[in-house]
Amino acid sequence: MPIETPDLVLAPILPELILSGVAMLILLVDAARPSRGGRAMALLAAAGILAAAAVVIRQWQVPAADELTALGGMVAVDRFALFFRLVILACALLSVLLGAHYLERTGEGRGEYHALLLFAAAGMTLLAAAADLIVVFLALEVLSLSLYVLAGFSWRRLASQEASLKYFLLGAFSSAFFLYGIALAYGAAGTTSLAGIADALSGPGTSMALALAAGGLLLVGFSFKVAAVPFHMWTPDVYQGAPSPVTGFMAAGTKVAGFAALIRVTTVALGPVSWELLPAVVGVSALTMVVGSILAIAQDDVKRVLAYSSIAHAGFVLVGVAAANQEGVSGSMFYLVAYAAMILGAFAVVIAVSRTGEGRTSLRSYRGLARRNPVLGALLALFLLSLAGIPPTAGFIAKVLVFEAAVRAGLSGLVVVAVLASVVAAFFYIRLIVLAYMEDPEETERVPAEPAPGLALGVTAAVTLLLGILPGLLLDPLERAGVLRW
């Protein structure tokens, strides 16, 4: 039985190869010399990420190939993918930084953390580049499985274990739905390639009902990953229970990757039925913004607040997705960068404040923060303002971009819901700032400044502020590169 194995051109997935290669290297080194501290592993991981990023940047500079996909149509090689890979790699780098610091403090430092993080990052980058539903699914599983374990990585805490179990059970549950969606899509279109599905859907004789059922189920799966209501309920619990660097990585990376794939799937594969899908996306978006914003009000743990915040933001990005136009996509891309920067920054603050692992995440611990460490207080305020969408921060520009796209798509009603939700959301961001700035501290001790979170804070703060003042820094290259050519 002769099977001509196809030529495997590995360049398109070089970043993923590097990431998983380094991950395995870490596993090996760790197995060989378990006594070595996490720091070396962290450096190794960081090096791997930087190498992958270098590859991505190199690929960005090289003019796009004629082919839009590689590896037999499985992986996209467009700049959309490259862009998101870069964002995800940045998130991963910061998470490695934060994670190393965190593990050092908790004494849980082990190589597996970094290995799993790299695997998860590889899954995410691949997800952003997936051009076939099966790759989407597998990439999703790669990142999910890694994150299930990472969520429970802080094994001495029951909460971490619980987060892990909850995330796992619901994640597997959602995987089943997603897979069912793939199956129906396959049934409707006879293929799982995104482009193929689009061709089939625009051609005659394809069952719209089946395609839409598939679309609905795929949407369910993505909604779970990006924490959209009502598939969001795991989020607060898992965000709270998981170790903070992991939470940060989940909040930033998973969402970025999930949306990258969601955008690609809805605009490419489901593009022909996007009009029919619109009510679903709009409904989920509106519900997500409203529920996320309102429920955050009643929280008293900062990680839960940020969890609800990330839920609400998923809704805002969905506004851009719902717009389903060029502006919506580029707006969502900008939004995701801004969001990743500010949520990671916020978690970096959380890590800096808690000092010992997971302590001091109750909102009470934030009282008088600005007095105990003015810089940290200011950065927290910056991130919160950006999350609230107050100018001149990246969060504001991001909102403007997606809202404008939605208005353009005739979704003014959704935008109205969005702005009202952001007012409600502002309520709890402001509450946190009240605690940090306007109340007397419970502890008078200064919060020390430490290099690792400091670096992460610096980077995220710079991005948050710079993109708010000069959004052209990101938008102009995006526009020049014409990232949306597929």
């Binding site: 099966i134 597998l138 299930y148 619980e162 597997a172 549950f173 199956a183 129906l184 049934g187």
Partner: protein, 101 residues
């Protein structure tokens, strides 16, 4: 006469639903997990049925991947459940509600 493909699809949908209901009504983490396996199995049936309908084997390959994923998930899932059990001595998910509100 060959069985219409839709029959298989309907059975598959029923099994998927039963699995879904199982996740919701059972409290033992293991049984919940088994229910998820049932869902995945149901999806496999759908894939293979469609594969037959289309007269090609791509669907079977997809089902194959699904099984591999299921296997990997089982490993991770069981590891997590065992880990939790060692601490809490319970596999009842209703007991696991430290994180809430």
């Amino acid at each position: 006469m060959r069985t219409p493909i839709a029959f298989f699809l309907v059975v598959s949908a029923l099994l998927f639903t039963i699995g879904t209901v199982g996740v919701l009504v059972r409290r033992n983490a293991l049984v919940i997990f088994m229910s998820i396996e049932l869902q995945l199995n149901a999806v496999n049936l759908t894939l293979i049925a469609f594969s037959r309908q289309l007269g090609e084997v791509n669907g079977q390959v997809l089902a194959f991947f699904s099984m591999v994923v299921a296997a990997a998930e089982v490993v991770v899932g069981l590891a997590i459940i065992v880990a939790i059990f060692r601490r809490r001595v319970s596999a009842n998910v209703d007991d696991i509600n430290l994180l809430r509100w």
